[in-house]
Subunit: 251 residues, 2 copies
Amino acid sequence: MSEKHDTVTCAVLVIGDEILSGRTKDRNIGYIAEYLARVGVEMREARVVPDVEEEIVAALNALRARYDYVFTTGGIGPTHDDITADAVAKAFGVTIDEDPRAMAVMMQRYIPSDLTPARRRMARIPAGADLIDNPVSKAPGFRIGNVIVMAGVPSVMQAMLDHAVQGLRTGTVMLVETLEAGGLPEGRYGVALGEIAAARPDVGIGSYPSFANGKFRNSIVVRGKDAAVVAETKAAVEAMIERLSGDNKPL
Amino acid sequence: MSEKHDTVTCAVLVIGDEILSGRTKDRNIGYIAEYLARVGVEMREARVVPDVEEEIVAALNALRARYDYVFTTGGIGPTHDDITADAVAKAFGVTIDEDPRAMAVMMQRYIPSDLTPARRRMARIPAGADLIDNPVSKAPGFRIGNVIVMAGVPSVMQAMLDHAVQGLRTGTVMLVETLEAGGLPEGRYGVALGEIAAARPDVGIGSYPSFANGKFRNSIVVRGKDAAVVAETKAAVEAMIERLSGDNKPL
C-alpha cells in the first residue's frame, strides 16, 4: 500500500471449547472483521483456542506483540470454565481482583443478595484495565493495553464492540469493489487476472467462487486505499471480463 | 481423560483474505469440528491466515508439529491468489510440479483445449502427496504427511472431507450430554457447577448462555470418553438444576 495511507491491524482470539467441538458455530470472527474494516482496522489473523489457561496466554502474547489490537471473545461469564480474565492478567503479568467499578455496574442489575459468588467472578478485572460497557447484561468487558476483551454471546459482543471501537486508533479505510464474473470460469480468466494483479502491487485482487445448484459462479474483489488506483483496476478487470465473456468457447 | 481411551487431535488452518476482510463468513471450521468429533478426532485449535506465503508456511509448520492432523481450507483454485499448494510444498521442503495423476483426473472434466494454464495450476501437487478426490469439480485436494489440503468452497470441502477421513487414525469418540438449564441463570449455579467439575477431572463441563428476545437461556454440556463417568456427571448436574430451580429466589 502507498505510504500516505495509514494501516492499523488487529487479530481476533476466540476462546472456547464449544467452538472447537463444533457445538457452537462461531459468528464473531466474520462480524468483527466486517465491522472493523468499515472503520479502518484490518484483521490479519484469527485464532480459536480452548478454555485452557496456557493456550490462551500463549496465543494472546503472540498476537498482541504482532498486531496493533487484539480482540478476544468468550470466557468472561460466571462459571468455572470462564477463565479469560485470569488468563489475560497472567499474559500481562498483572494482578486481578474484584474491581469496584465493575461491582458498581453489576449492582445496577442485581440486588445485593443476588450478587452471588459466581456473579462476583464477573467483576474480576486485571489491574490497569479500562471497563467496556455491556448494555445488554451489565457485566463489563475490558481493555488492557492493546487487548480488548469481550463476551462470546454475539449480541453482547456486538454491543461491547460498539463501545470499544470509540477508543481505537484507525487507519485509512480500505475501498472495496466487487465485480461479478458470473458464469465465466476462473480457469478461463485466471492468467489474465494474475497479470492485472501483478502489474498493480498497491491493490489486492481476489477471485471467489461459490457453488450452488450444480454451478460455480465467481466474484472478483478489488481492494485498495487509493481511490484512483482502485477505479483503474476495476476498469481493467471489467474490460477483461467483457473480453473473455465474448469468446466463442464453451464456458 | 483415562488412559484406556485414545486421543487423536487436529487443527484447522483457514487460508484466505476473504475471511479476514469479513466478505466471506467461514463455515468450514464448525463443520469440520463437528464432523471429526463424530469419528473420534478432536479439534484443538483453528487459525485463519491471509493469502501470504510466509504466513501460511509459519502457521502450517506450527500446527503440524503440534497436532496429529492439520486440515487446511482454501487457496487451491486456478487464480493468482491460490497459493496454498506452493506454500505447503515450501513448509515441507519438497518440490511441486504438475502431477500426472491430477492431470488425468482433470482430463475427465476438461477437453484438452479447455485445460488452460490457469486450470493446470490446479494440478500442481507437492512431491510425495496423495490425492484427495473432488467429486464436485474434479480438481483434487491432497494429503502430505499429516496435512490434509482441501478447497475453501464449503460443498467442495465437505466432499473432500468425506474422502480424506477414510485414511485417518481415529481415537475414542467423545460422549456428549447436553442439559437445558433453561432460565436458571449461570450466576445462580456457577459455584455448584464448578464444584461438580472440580470433583471430576475426567470430564469436561461447559456452561453456554444464549441470548434471544431479551432473555438468557443456558445449556450445560458434559463431555467425556467413559460412559459411566459421563452418566454419573449428567445425573449430578441434573440434580443440581432441580435443586436450584426449586429455590424461592427470583431468577
